[in-house]
């Protein structure tokens, strides 16, 4: 297939579908318990230099406990997909965890404004950047989930976003129409926060799924954090609710309020005061350092972090806020 044009951006992961197949051939399919702590899961499955994807959307259903633990364990030189990555991006920038980045949406926290520290890191010259869009990254995960090396799409063409991407423009072999071929991302490691999972890693998600269905299947290793463990019998009672099957999963960590300070659909709303505080302290490097020490580096785990920010009373308040509108459904 002839390449009509190509972007100058790097491709940080190998899109080769056969290499991915030989990896997945070795992946465990035994129905065995994968329950462990977040600390153990990060130690075991997240390595320096790995390409990382975090699930959810910005500050909604994010695996916050995994992001914090990656900082505590000091991971460096990672690749990362900034696929509407807002608060999770802010956390990873605080630890300068990655230096290779596929960008769709970064630096900002949507209506809340821009993160001064994330912006500083992105303007420092320390990060190798390829440009994409949200849909582009979604279809790159979709290609990997389908076990192929690229996915065609009709966005991005004609723009600088294409010029600084790693995409290639090709002509359709049937119609001659131009498409951008977007290379598959097989992440080394992904972490996704879900509502419910059994001990084997069969997962249920309520509300929007963003790209997590494909990310779970594309990733070579997958850490699941869940609001609560449920029984395998419950999974089997209604398999239509399972969105991620156990054979994609390497670790299951039960972390109630695991998306905090983010929003979890039907469980709790985001802690806007705490997110505002993050943005504020980022303006002063000394204040920011103290803030990170308090909230991440000196915390034993996610429960410790929650205890330092209002504990169960705060969680109850955020639950009530979520149910102010979710609970009113009938």
């Amino acid at each position: 297939m002839d390449v009509i044009a190509q972007g100058s951006g790097k491709i940080f992961t190998d899109p080769d579908a056969d290499k991915a197949r030989s990896f997945f051939r070795t992946k465990n399919r035994k129905l065995e318990s994968k329950v462990m702590t977040v600390k153990d899961a990060v130690e075991k499955f997240v390595h320096d230099g790995d390409y990382l994807v975090l699930g959810g959307f910005g500050a909604n259903r994010i695996p916050a406990s995994v992001a914090h633990e990656i900082l505590r364990q000091g991971r460096k030189n990672m690749g990362f997909a900034g696929h509407t990555s807002t608060h999770d991006f802010q956390i990873l920038c605080a630890g300068e965890v990655f230096n290779k980045l596929d960008v769709a949406y970064i630096v900002g926290l949507e209506a809340r404004g821009l993160s001064p520290n994330a912006r500083k890191y992105m303007e420092s010259g320390k990060v190798d950047v390829s440009e994409w869009t949200n849909y582009s990254l979604s279809v790159r995960f979709k290609a990997a989930a389908a076990g192929v090396s690229f996915h065609p799409a009709r966005n991005v063409m004609g723009t600088d976003t294409f010029k600084f991407s790693g995409g290639k423009i090709i002509a359709c072999p049937f119609t001659g129409t131009k498409y951008i071929a977007q290379p598959a991302i097989y992440p080394d490691i992904a972490a996704i926060h879900v509502h419910e999972a059994d001990i084997y890693g069969n997962c249920r998600v309520r509300g929007i799924t963003v790209s997590d269905f494909d990310v779970a299947r594309a990733a070579k290793r997958l850490i699941i954090t869940c609001e609560r463990l449920i029984t395998n019998d419950e999974i089997r009672r209604d398999p239509s609710l399972t969105v991620i099957p156990y054979w994609c999963v390497d670790a299951v960590c039960e972390v109630p309020f695991g998306s905090y300070p983010g929003n979890m659909y039907g469980e709790y709303f985001s802690d806007e005061d705490h997110l505002r505080e993050w943005m504020k302290v980022e303006q002063d490097p000394d204040e920011f350092k103290k803030f990170l020490d308090k909230n991440i580096y000196s915390c034993k785990d996610h429960f410790d972090y929650i205890d330092r920010n209002g504990g169960i009373r705060k969680m109850q308040m955020l639950r009530q806020k979520e149910f102010m509108f979710i609970g009113a459904r009938s």
Binding site: Y105, L114, T133, N134, A153, N155, Y179, I208, S270, R329
Partner: protein, 256 residues
């Protein structure tokens, strides 16, 4: 007529563009407020879609994120990014509203960076998010933005999101889907559209209190003029009431 601010005027102008039965892909902030206002005034059957997966909600109050729980309030479906963008790519999304740090005479938008060095930019912005996708696929792309000469730039530092690219038939040649593209630009001073042949931005309506000269003086490139330029009507009392008391009581957007 009641007093109003420029953000309220832009939202009311935008809301009137969305006809009943149409579909619109929106982002947070002003675009979402416009869609909500439209749904609560002339277009109760407006289908609102959010890139993160929320489809056809009846939104109770302003979401903070296009992926937060409010985007699926009484929705018909909670889906995902591919579902929404594929719906747009199939040709089933009529409108989208976008913004950006810079816009040029062909409606191209920059929301990526300022400065020539991509790895070490002078200013880094968030990037496309879903803006490039919506602008590529939705039939009519609209922009809501304050008007000033720095923002309305002769040339964007970086084209994140496609407008009419270099004008004429350049967009069609690029490979983007045919027939879709920038439709209207709504600012605090005026409403612009695009001259059909050259695809250059032109004034079609001027807001109360502003003149055509004000609009041109606050634009970094030469604007064309439509054969007939009309006065854009101010917000009605009903529109302002719904916007202020129902949609955005905490003034997240209209207080800016």
């Amino acid at each position: 007529m009641a007093d109003y601010n420029t953000m309220e005027l832009m939202i009311c102008t935008a809301a009137r563009e969305l006809e009943d039965g149409a579909s619109v892909g929106v982002g947070t902030g002003a675009p979402c407020a416009a869609a909500m206002l439209s749904q609560k005034t002339g277009s109760p059957n407006l289908t609102i879609l959010f890139e993160a997966g929320g489809a056809a909600p009846l939104i109770p109050e302003m979401p903070i994120s296009v992926g937060d729980s409010r985007t699926t309030w009484k929705a018909l479906m909670a889906s995902g990014m591919c579902e929404i963008m594929e719906t747009a790519c199939r040709g089933m999304l009529d409108y989208t509203f976008l913004g950006g740090a810079q816009i040029d005479m062909y409606g191209n938008l920059n929301s990526t960076r300022i400065g020539p060095d991509h790895q070490k930019p002078k200013v880094r912005f968030p990037g496309s998010g879903g803006a490039n996708d919506f602008a590529s696929f939705c039939w009519r792309m609209m922009v809501m933005t304050p008007q000033d000469p720095k923002r309305f730039a002769e040339k964007c530092s970086f084209i994140t999101t496609p407008g009419w690219l270099e004008g004429g038939d350049s967009r069609a040649k690029s490979g983007l889907p045919l027939g879709a593209g920038p439709y209207k630009i709504i600012t605090n001073m005026a409403v612009m559209d695009f001259e059909p042949e050259s695809k250059r931005m032109r004034i079609v309506a001027v807001n109360p209190g502003y003149s055509e000269k004000d609009v041109q003086d606050n634009c970094g490139f030469e604007l064309l003029k439509a054969p007939k330029i009309i006065d854009n009507p101010p917000p009605t009392a009903e529109e302002l009431h719904i916007l202020r008391d129902v949609i955005d009581p905490y003034r997240y957007v209209i207080g800016r």
